[in-house]
Amino acid sequence: MTITVNSEKKEVEKNITLAELIKFLEIDEIAIVAEVSGKIIAPDQYNSTVIQENENVELIRFVGGG
C-alpha cells in the first residue's frame, strides 16, 4: 500500500506497524519520535501502531541546535 513518510510517497506492506516501518527504512529507532496522521506516537507505542493506507507519517529526530 502507499503511505507518505516525511512528504515522500512510499510503498510498504499492508498493516505494517510503525516499528516495522522504521526498521524497513533502516532508521535507528533510538530517540526518534513519530507522528501518524498528525498524532504523536511515543516510542513505546511503535509496535502497537498499525499504519493505514494513505496515512501521513512524520519521523523526527534530534539534531544539534542552539
Binding site: 513518510v5 516525511n6 515522500e8 512510499k10 527504512l25 533502516e26 532508521i27 535507528d28 533510538i30 530517540a31 526518534i32 519520535v33 507522528e35 504523536i40 506516537i41 511515543a42 516510542p43 512524520e58 519521523l59 523526527i60 529526530r61 534530534f62 539534531v63 544539534g64 541546535g65 542552539g66
Partner: protein, 267 residues
C-alpha cells in the same frame, strides 16, 4: 557539623536555581554548528555546562544519519530541546510535545522565529505558546527580545526563566540590547539567561557583570578555530563576570577620582 552545613548552604545559595534544579555552571551551551560530534562532546565538557540545547528535525529517510542524541550523556547533562523552526505558537507546541514524547523530559527552550533573516522571536506567538505549554506541565525557558514588559507577562504565565537576546542568533555582535536587558534583570523574579549573539567571552562576562543569572552560547564556541579552548574561555569569563558581580563593582564616574593621595605632594 554546623560549620559544614553553613558552607554547603552558602554553596547552594551561590548556585544557579532554575525551577527545581540547581546548577553549578551558569553557562548553557548549544550543540549546533559543530564540525563533528567528537568536537561537540569535548567542547561541552570543556565548557563545564550542565544543560545543553538540541533541536528537532525530520529524519532524512534517504540517508538516515547517526542520531546525535546518543552523544549527549543524559546522566550528566539536562537536555533542553528547542522549538527552533517554529514560526508560530501551534508549531512550537507541536515540537514541544514531540520532544517530550521522545523522552526528552519536560524542560523546553521555547523559540518562535518566523523571520529567517534576523531570527528574532515573535513576542505574541511566544507568549501564546508559553501559556499553553506551562499549563501542559512544561518547564518553559522562553527566548525573547529584550522587552521587559513581555518578560513580565511570561513570568506571570509561569515560565521558569526569561531569555532575552543580546543580538541576532549567530551574529556574534554581543549585547546590543544591554540597557533593556538591565531593566529585565532589575525587574525579573525568575532567572534571566542572556541568549543569542554572544560572540566572545568578554560578552558573556559583561552579561554576568550586569547581574544576569546565566548565558546561553552556541555559535561563538562552535565556529571558533578551537572550539574546545573557546568553550573553556567562556567558562572562565562567566566565572569572572559572576564573581565580579558578587564582589560589587565600583561606581562609574564621568570625571577622574584619584587613586593616590591628594596631599603630601613633593615640591
Amino acid at each position: 557539623m554546623l560549620g559544614t552545613n553553613l558552607i554547603i548552604n552558602e554553596k547552594l545559595n551561590r548556585m544557579l536555581k532554575i525551577a527545581d534544579k540547581d546548577f553549578s555552571s551558569r553557562l548553557l551551551v548549544g550543540t549546533g554548528k559543530f564540525a563533528s560530534i567528537e568536537i561537540m562532546k569535548k567542547a561541552i565538557e570543556a565548557s563545564g555546562a550542565e544543560m545543553v540545547t538540541v533541536a528537532l528535525r525530520r529524519v532524512d529517510i534517504n540517508n538516515p544519519q547517526e542520531n546525535m542524541l546518543g552523544a549527549v550523556d543524559r546522566s550528566k547533562y539536562v537536555l533542553l530541546p528547542n522549538t527552533s523552526g517554529a514560526r508560530d505558537a501551534e508549531e512550537a507546541v507541536r515540537l514541544a510535545r514531540l520532544a517530550r514524547a521522545a523522552g526528552c523530559g519536560d524542560w523546553l527552550k521555547l523559540e518562535v522565529t518566523p523571520d529567517p533573516r534576523y531570527l528574532l522571536p515573535d513576542p505574541v506567538e511566544t507568549l501564546k505558546a508559553a501559556e499553553i505549554l506551562v499549563k501542559d506541565g512544561f518547564k518553559v525557558l522562553p527566548y525573547i527580545g529584550a522587552d521587559p514588559i513581555l518578560a513580565k507577562h511570561l513570568e506571570e504565565a509561569g515560565t521558569v526563566t526569561v531569555m532575552p537576546l543580546g543580538s541576532p542568533i549567530g551574529s556574534n555582535r554581543g549585547i546590543k540590547t544591554k540597557d533593556f536587558v538591565k531593566i529585565i534583570i532589575e525587574q525579573a523574579q525568575v532567572p534571566v539567561v542572556v541568549d543569542a549573539g554572544l560572540g566572545a567571552p568578554s560578552h558573556a562576562a559583561e552579561a554576568m557583570e550586569m547581574g544576569a543569572d546565566a548565558v546561553l552560547v552556541n555559535t561563538a564556541i562552535a565556529v571558533a578555530e578551537n572550539p574546545v579552548a573557546m568553550a573553556e574561555a567562556f567558562k572562565l569569563a562567566i566565572t569572572a563576570g559572576r564573581q565580579a558581580y558578587e564582589a560589587g563593582l565600583g561606581e562609574i564616574n564621568i570625571t577622574a577620582s584619584a587613586s593616590s593621595p591628594l596631599t603630601g605632594f613633593l615640591n
